[in-house]
Symmetry: D2
């Protein structure tokens, strides 16, 4: 099958998430990166494009127009800029009829998010949001187990995403924009909180209706949140907790999810991503592996560790299939609804914390 | 050294915690059980005493008087009755000048707790509360590490105590009194919440000043709490979370503690009680074992697993040493202050939850 | 029930395994230690007996006679001397009609082992050998699973016992006699090899018919083996490996057992003694805990960690039951046959290694 | 940088290892697959090439000639055929001056291996052997630790590679050629034994001088080995064990390495590939992660799990660098010497087992 022609906005040399998207797009051979506006700095944009051997643009708006006009122009674009720079290119490419693969969170502000939403609704092109973790095989299997009643009625949810890399005040380039409220919108809430929120939602099939939050800036003088814990209430009566932190010293990337239902519990940790522990109420815990993943979201036999990049590539390969016409997979690929839900989560958490932890309804 | 003569109130045949106390008292040879009022049912009290080959009493008040009058009377008494039956015997034995080793929580009501406190203050005898987990070697080492600044300034605390045994409505004898508000006072909050509260306090050396709680009865129709999650604020600026549940299906006895400071993190889980993970900010995690426990709270070389009963026995052996005149160990053996703090925790959590999660000050 | 009157030979102050036996005997209240010849040094024997508050003897032979003559004399004796000192007291007490609880290995030489065997055969008293690990609940459950065909036909066995405490040439009192061929007989082979051998035998129900061994003294100048690896052949066609070492730096007490059959695998490690991993050929691994132990060899609910001492106490409590007349439990308590098999293992391993790894038949 | 033009022999549709090589070559963007003789069945060769959009050949010999003659011909070829089909294409491409990336083991017979060796020696092109595991970051770090004396003098080595997928007699296409002595040469010894052998060699920097082997066909009627255990002696005095099995039921892909030296121990398992446990003699175990990998053999920050495919890609990226002129990396990329050592290992193991476990010198 011919690779899909892909463009990229952001992701110039030295960028973190742009390089990840390129590997994910490349891994299964479904995409060919052919064009990019890789930096807001024109010189860096050009040299980065040259390094990659692709058509370079100084400006994403020019790129959207030019690519839309070419016969061999890009069919999809990955947007891997800081949060406050998602909306403008997303709107531009959607309006040009080019599919958008956007990094999370959806945007830095509710206004930006609303503009993206409008563009998605009026465009014939698709919009995807790279909440990559939910494409890991054991989380797809977890979702399937919950959906078929394997945990019974859900009672308790605990999702955590703990990192330690922002434990000190100043932390280099990545930290710079992520701790700048103007560019990031929210701190830990946006960067990893939305991942946690989406993951719990993806696996349980439920969204909390209300939350009570304690959002903190633990590092003195930091202008943005670096730790947040929320109590969650579900319409079903289930209770939950969400805890994210970027000052949890020694934690590399501690994402985890625990569910307890009337019939069984599920536990998953990113540190052992290919193990899903299913504990029935009356029997021994079972260590599910990819041998039990019915979605077969992998490339190698069980026991050959796959991880973060493969999960990201699972998303890209699903996106490729959808672009090529698949109608089954959209359900498991995050998109606009996930993005808006993440923005609603951020807003609710900030509102609750500002009201000293008052319970706040999550907008839907 | 001559064993200390021990009595017991509660703990008749079939009782859970009474049997534990007897093993703990016996393990290191520091106590000899010689008398007991083992049940409120006189016949069961007598037959249980006979089985154990000890002096049996129908009534704890008679026992306190009679034993105090004997030359070879008991020197200490273990009170292992349901929560609402702690205060009366505790007061009786304290007033008789006999040391009291009381199971946790301190009492079922604040009024009972206050009566115990009064008796402790007027008695020359000692009062001990068996928060046994804090006597495990790696938790004593954890406390020493925190005290000497090994984690730096404390920023984040997460303590959890998750069990699944009350997932269904009806669960047998143990469940009966523990889910009866009249006898237990509180449910999960009292039974395991006070353990979690005390453990975090013991290791960190800090007590939360305020909390916001969501206390739930997850099982329909249950008259008492079976799940509670609290956000915690410390005067030092540290933030924390406490989550206890007795409906976490599949969890046998999931007590865990995680601390994050400016310099390092500590993690401990009861499921691997002899491992303490210390992760410095800039270095690899270290798996501390009993080989690193400076308190040497054990009987066997590292690698010969000790656990719950040995931890309980550590407490009993410290109590024996204190009764015999030791003046150093009192600091690490829980007593009245821990009991009152636990009652203040229960009260604050119930008050906050009743006020829909409003932040409540914890009484000191 | 009245405690059984117990004596002890060896185990004076400062001894390791004697203290363990005393805790194990005491834990469940089934034994009362009343007499001892606790040291070959008369003064230490006396002061140790005084410390314990028991009848002290200078000499085990005198003790055997005197105790046998008393109405309230000991009913059983624990022999916890170095290996070369097992046979003489064992014979003396057996001949006096007193049950013997002997530490492993059976003896330092085949001649000593034969004398014990003769005494057991002519005595009305019982002989028990404290291979304590096989009394741990999950190993009893493992044995039950194998016996009922739960792993299918056994194909592969791997048993390891790795310690690091003899990594350096000189290591204090415990190391002294254990590395002296005259007193220990064999080094790692006797001290921990016999444990590994017995454990594999206990769980699988099979004894290797032949072995090929590489027995080494890794520390330069050490007069006794400190590392041994054996390939094993079973009459059933199963193959196996046994590896023991006392120079495996960093290993505290690394005993483990892995079995692979036609239908399932079993894996157990002393470092997590209450987990037994059962992996069926076509399904996910299951983490069995004490909740699945059908022998109910424990005192506390699952999740309250029990370990080494409780396992040892399980053995003592079974021994008490047998002495009191139980006829069911003998099958799971190690005795003379285990001791002789251990001696045959040592002999075969030494013979094979001397013949440069030639396959040697294990005597039965 | 321009991608290196890559060809492939074998790896037609449905093949396992060919697909792996393609992902590994693609992941970091250093190779472009442009030509292939993907199957010995001409029709499958052609359709597979079409699917991949590359130049297809019916025959590798034609391909070698044609590609060598093109200006835009391949610069390197990946040989991913069954073992007995490595030598002929390797020789053909090497003689055509094209670099060869050959799957392991080197060949099915010593004669084939010798022919490859001759071709390597006379060719100006490079020869690489994809022992992929040694390119995992924590194993590169392990090697660095050993090389700098971090474990002291090596005393004990234990390497295991356990799989369960051949537990039953008939197992599908992959099993077919791998259990055919004519095509595979050796069974478990060749398929996974050479991986284990090479990995121990890579990390320790030492090769055993002698071995004693027990090579078995556990499944009745299987014409090739499916289980092998070897005792190892090193010239340095170190002792070791190597155990490989393809009938270890329930084991997905259980590769592990344990080293014990005079100063420290190292432990690594493929099931947790990004953890390396370093246990100094006198201190706590340390869990090294990629944060400690000085070779920086990864794409993402620590905590974003990378695994099997990334390790394979590390090898491919090093190969690309070497082809482009790097002179530093050859030392860590396996090549002919590893291949010949693997063949010597197979020969020695088969010889020893045939001589009932006699110690056999490993050819160098």
């Amino acid at each position: 099958m011919k690779p899909i022609r892909l463009g990229m906005v952001g992701g110039g040399s030295g960028a973190f998430i742009g390089a990840i998207h390129r590997i994910a797009a490349r891994m299964d051979g479904n995409f060919a990166l052919v064009a990019g506006a890789l930096s807001s700095d024109p010189q860096r944009a050009r040299s980065s494009a040259e390094d990659l051997g692709i058509r370079g643009y100084d400006d994403f708006a020019d790129m959207a127009k030019a690519e839309a006009a070419r016969d061999d122009g890009i069919q999809a674009v990955a947007i891997v800029t800081p949060n406050h720079m998602h909306a403008d290119p997303a709107v531009a490419f959607l309006d040009a009829g080019i599919h958008v693969i956007c990094d999370k969170p959806l945007a830095a502000t509710q206004e930006q998010a609303a503009r993206i939403a409008d563009a998605v609704r009026r465009s014939g092109a698709r919009f995807f949001l790279t909440h990559n973790y939910c494409a890991l095989p054991m989380l797809r299997e977890a979702r399937a187990i919950v959906a078929e009643g394997g945990v019974g009625d859900l009672r308790l949810v605990q999702v955590e995403y703990l990192q330690g890399w922002l434990s000190d005040p100043a932390q280099g380039k990545q930290a710079e924009w992520r701790t700048d409220p103007g560019r990031a919108g929210a701190g830990a809430l946006g960067d990893i909180g939305t991942h946690a929120w989406q993951l719990a939602q993806f696996v349980t099939g439920q969204t909390p209706s209300h939350l009570s939050a304690e959002v903190s800036s633990i590092v003195p003088g930091r202008p943005i949140d670096d730790d947040a814990r929320c109590a969650l209430r579900y319409a079903s009566g289930a209770k939950g907790g969400l805890w994210v932190s970027q000052v949890a010293v020694g934690q590399e990337n501690g994402l985890s999810l625990r569910l307890f239902g009337t019939a069984a519990a599920l536990e998953w940790r990113l540190s052992a991503p290919e193990r899903l522990i299913l504990t029935p109420k009356d029997g021994p815990a079972r260590i599910l592996t990819r041998a039990q993943d019915r979605s077969q979201s992998y490339r190698t036999p069980p026991g050959h560790p796959e991880g973060y990049l493969e999960g990201f590539a699972n998303l890209y390969s699903d996106i490729a299939a959808i672009i090529r016409g698949d109608t089954q997979l959209a359900d498991r690929v995050p998109g606009l609804a996930d993005g808006l839900s993440g923005m609603a989560f951020i807003a609710a958490a900030q509102a609750s914390s500002s009201a000293d932890g008052a319970w706040v309804e999550v907008a839907t």
